[in-house]
């Protein structure tokens, strides 16, 4: 409730500030610079704090936005309102090209590459004759709006903060949507998201381009505020400072961007006055202080200041009501007895170790097949081969007659194969409902632009309603708004089943679903799985609890050291001498 009033109050205060004559010009200037920085940092929040991609090069994108308008308005008299879209497209395009090359890089290579291209672009600005080399360009025109010249800082203030609030609005909306959930899965949930059909790479590029476009916007605003540009503010030092702002404010929080930009800009201004006087010489000594502050912050408050503020005011996350919505369409289930999955001489080797040794088995629609065997028998490896996380070295995987070999996990998910993981993979800080809604990713098409403008609410409601329905079904209906990380481990496994059900699966692969459950919960789970079978879903099950397996499955496949040992009805398997030997070490 309070949040409802806080934001309009904040906007109102912002709107009033320049009108008060008592507010000194210098404050307005500071606020303008805070706004300019906040726009860039907002992009970094999405990119680094939420998406986990660290960039030190954002200042270069600010530069592209600034130089585009500076050049076009001074050399060709193009209207600033035309250079704005041109500049944004150009920054977006540069980011897309750089991203296409560098975003495939793992963890630490990516930030290092941002240092490299950040420096390169800076030197390019400083050495192109048309861009005035190191002197830059001057005489950039004033922005006019409805015949009004935005000449003074007080007038320009409104333009800057209009864009800041617009960027906040768009970013917040984007995060709370279908593409937003995919973005939030990038950091630490990539494998899981791919298995739910999310095209991870596309979302990495998306946030990279989005952050760059915001930086370009800031650059356009900067150029027309300063009315002159030179390469200095687009160097790697400034790029690093943007990242510091994000970390100070709280890189994972949208409002943290404004906080971080505000604190950094004000402190920097104070230090630039105080330090040279104190040290008796001129120079940008504030970087010493910021360096030390950053080290301390990362040692003692790694998540930045915004979460500390939330904690201090005892802020609880919003409790979301699941909206009413018509159900999502479901796919046609195969006819009873139709062959669904055929594994033919599947083989997987890790170096010299043969984890899966020419294993074959088949499954029909509406069948529960148990895959059992001692630890290290290759059960989870088979799961990973079927779902595309690992590529088989030999053999064939056929799903409803189609070869799955070589397909990426998301394509396999698209065909109707849902799975859970042996080691739970979920996003602990997202709610249970949001986690499960990732499973329904492929059942809607709403994109990022619609999400930013909130044009996809009907579809979003359908996705959330579906997630809630599946959670009710598996018995987690009481926990929709709980953080997923707060659930007991057994419940987290059940959550994964609900997520897999959201795919609307034909085939469900469950890796030890009953581990960590109590007796009653196991019975409830067995009932759900039987009901799914009756609806025509096939279930492949890895499980160590033999009572659970024997009571539930129609057939069993037994593996030992990667090789199929036996296959048959549970009763036959229980008396099979080879199986007994593998499990009990030689009874015969």
């Amino acid at each position: 409730m309070r949040e409802k009033y806080l934001i309009p109050a904040f906007v109102l205060i912002l709107a009033l500030v320049p009108l008060l004559p008592a507010v000194p010009e210098f404050w307005i200037t500071l606020l303008n610079y805070i706004g300019l920085a906040a726009i860039v940092v907002l992009g970094l929040v999405l990119l680094t704090g939420i998406g986990g991609l660290v960039s030190f090069g954002q200042a270069a994108f600010v530069g592209i936005g600034a130089y585009t308008t500076a050049y076009l308005t001074t050399a060709y008299d193009v209207s600033p309102w035309l250079t704005l879209p041109i500049g944004l497209v150009l920054t977006g395009l540069s980011a897309w090209i750089i991203g296409a090359i560098t975003l495939r890089l793992s963890g630490h290579f990516l930030p290092l590459s941002t240092l490299a291209w950040g420096i390169s672009i800076y030197f390019v600005f400083g050495n192109i004759n048309a861009l005035g080399r190191h002197d830059g360009l001057t005489g950039i025109p004033v922005v006019e709006l409805f015949g009004l010249e935005l000449m003074s800082g007080r007038r320009y203030f409104y333009l800057i903060w209009f864009f800041v609030l617009l960027a906040v609005f768009a970013t917040k909306n984007l995060l709370d949507s279908r593409p937003g959930r995919a973005i939030r899965a990038l950091k630490g949930g990539g494998v899981m998201a791919e298995s739910c059909g999310v095209a991870i790479e596309r979302f990495r590029i998306l946030i990279f381009v989005y952050a760059a476009v915001l930086a370009g916007l800031s650059g356009w605003l900067y150029a027309h505020l300063q009315r002159a540009v030179n390469p200095t503010p687009f160097g790697i030092g400034q790029g690093i400072e943007y990242l510091f702002m994000a970390v100070i404010g709280g890189a994972g929080y949208v409002w943290g961007a404004l906080l971080g930009a505000g604190i950094f800009t004000v402190v920097e201004d104070v230090l630039q006055d105080v330090l040279p006087a104190l040290l008796g010489r001129s120079g940008h000594f504030e970087i010493i202080v910021f360096g030390v502050i950053m080290v301390l912050l990362l040692q003692y408050a790694r998540d930045g200041l915004w979460p500390l503020i939330l904690q201090a005011v005892n802020h609880a996350g919003a409790r979301r009501q699941v909206p009413e919505a018509p159900p999502l369409p479901t796919r046609a289930k195969p006819e009873a007895e139709e062959p669904v999955l055929a594994v033919r001489r599947a083989r997987k080797e890790f170096g010299g170790l043969v984890a899966v040794n020419d294993v074959s088995f088949e499954m029909r629609a509406g069948e529960i097949l148990g895959l059992i065997g001692p630890n290290g028998a290759g059960k989870s490896t088979i799961f990973n081969v079927i779902t595309g996380l690992l590529q088989a070295n030999g053999g064939e995987i056929l799903f409803r007659g189609e070869r799955l070999n070589g397909l990426p996990p998301r394509e396999i998910a698209r065909r109707g194969i849902g799975r859970t993981f042996q080691h739970v993979r979920l996003l602990p800080t997202m709610t249970v409902l949001e986690n499960v809604a990732i499973g329904a990713h492929l059942r809607a098409r709403s994109g990022p632009v619609a999400a930013m403008l909130r044009l996809e609410r009907r579809q979003e409601a359908q996705l959330l309603a579906e997630a809630a329905k599946q959670l009710e079904r598996v018995g987690l209906g009481a926990y929709l708004n709980e953080q997923a990380g707060n659930l007991a481990l057994g419940q987290q496994r059940i959550l994964e089943i609900a997520r897999a059900l959201c795919i609307d699966p034909v085939l469900l692969l469950l890796d030890e679903p009953a581990a960590g459950l109590r007796y009653k919960e196991k019975q409830a789970l067995a009932a759900v799985l039987k009901q799914l079978r009756d609806e025509g879903v096939s279930i492949l099950l890895v499980e160590h609890d033999m009572d659970f397996v024997m009571g539930l499955t129609d057939r069993l496949v037994v593996l030992d050291f990667g090789t199929k040992l036996a296959e048959g009805q549970p009763r036959e398997i229980q008396t099979n001498p080879a199986v007994l030997e593998a499990y009990l070490g030689g009874v015969a």
Partner: protein, 345 residues
């Protein structure tokens, strides 16, 4: 371009490349052992060169104040820890190392006619001053975060670089300095005249690489570091202390950086912020080696040096652009050849 110019450029390239190679080795070492992408490595280079230059001007190098301050801070941190652990008997040792030593060095520097000392002695004093900064920085900035993710450690490294660069400006001012040459000797090899300075740099690099090789292959500490690099948990289980290997690594990194500074000082004018770019070129080389391979990193460093020399000749303005853009095809190649399914965190 004729062959003489090409040969001169090649010589320049190899000389600079040798220094990048040293830095690349230090970067690979630090990353392998502590997972820190040590961006401030370059600051040791500029500190090293400028400290020698200050001595040659007969001025007390400002870095001594940093050593004193960092020493006192480290002593405070260590004393607090010792107090909490009930090990106050370690206090005299801590104070001797972190406070006594810097003060003694300061008194020594004060009493010496710095400008008139032979260069070898100046370099030795510089090393005595700069190298202890390595372990102190590790203790203050990185050791408390030893278990953090690579990305957090990288941001810390950048923050340390910021602080050190600002301090460099404070100590040495914005003007650049060049130290005296080690030797004025020139050798004529055919059409080409090779400067003794270049030979010195390349020779020192080779010597240092051999020394490092012996250290890692023949000594227990070297083996402990290699063990930590391969498997941190495993190394801990067999009794290698993580703080000790971190301290040792940063000492080596500081030594390599400061020595590189001494080597580069007579070749180029070094400014307080030169270290960053020099260090980054070491990075380009280290990345060519995938941050794991020493020989490939060293070869990459020579490549970077030669590329830079030729780029400077053809289009000097775009020298840096070319060198840093070189990293992109390398990264592309790296990312295409390495498969990674599991993500971090």
């Amino acid at each position: 371009m004729d062959t003489t110019i090409a040969a001169i450029l090649l010589q320049d390239g190899i000389t600079n490349g040798a220094i990048y190679a040293l830095l690349a080795l230090a970067l690979v070492l630090v990353f392998a052992v502590t997972r820190v992408i040590f961006v401030p490595q370059g600051e040791f280079v500029s500190y090293g060169a400028l400290t020698v230059a200050a001595m040659q001007y007969g001025v007390m190098p400002g870095t001594i104040w940093l050593l004193l301050a960092a020493g006192v801070l480290t002593a405070l941190v260590e004393l607090t820890r010792a107090f909490r652990a009930g090990e106050l008997r370690r206090a005299p040792r801590i104070l001797t190392f972190y406070v006594g030593y810097p003060v003694a060095l300061w008194l020594l520097l004060r009493s010496l006619p710095l400008g008139e000392l032979p260069m070898a002695l100046q370099i030795a004093l510089m090393l005595a001053l700069i190298v202890p900064l390595g372990p102190m920085i590790y203790r203050l900035a990185f050791q408390p975060l030893a278990e953090a993710s690579v990305l957090v450690l990288l941001i810390v490294a950048i923050a340390v670089h910021f602080a050190l660069q600002g301090l460099g400006l404070l100590f040495f001012g914005p003007e650049g300095s060049r130290t005296a040459a080690f030797t004025e000797l020139m050798f004529d090899v055919g059409v080409l005249s090779v400067s003794g300075q270049s030979l010195f740099v390349v020779g020192a690099t080779v010597l240092l690489i051999v020394a490092l090789y012996l250290f890692f292959e023949r000594t227990l500490y070297g083996k402990a570091l290699r063990a930590t690099a391969i498997n941190r948990v495993g190394a801990r289980l067999v009794g290698v202390s993580i703080p000790l290997s971190g301290t040792l690594t940063f000492t080596l990194a500081a030594l390599i950086g400061a020595l590189s500074g001494a080597l580069i000082g007579p070749i180029t004018t070094v400014y307080y912020d030169s270290g960053f770019l020099i260090g980054l070129k070491g990075f380009v080389a280290a990345i060519i080696g995938g941050l794991v391979s020493y020989p490939v990193a060293a070869a990459g460093a020579i490549l970077v040096g030669v590329m830079e020399a030729f780029a400077a000749f053809w289009t000097s303005e775009f020298k840096e652009v070319i060198v840093f853009t070189l990293i992109i095809p390398v990264l592309l190649w790296r990312s295409l050849t390495s498969q990674h399914v599991e993500e971090e965190e």
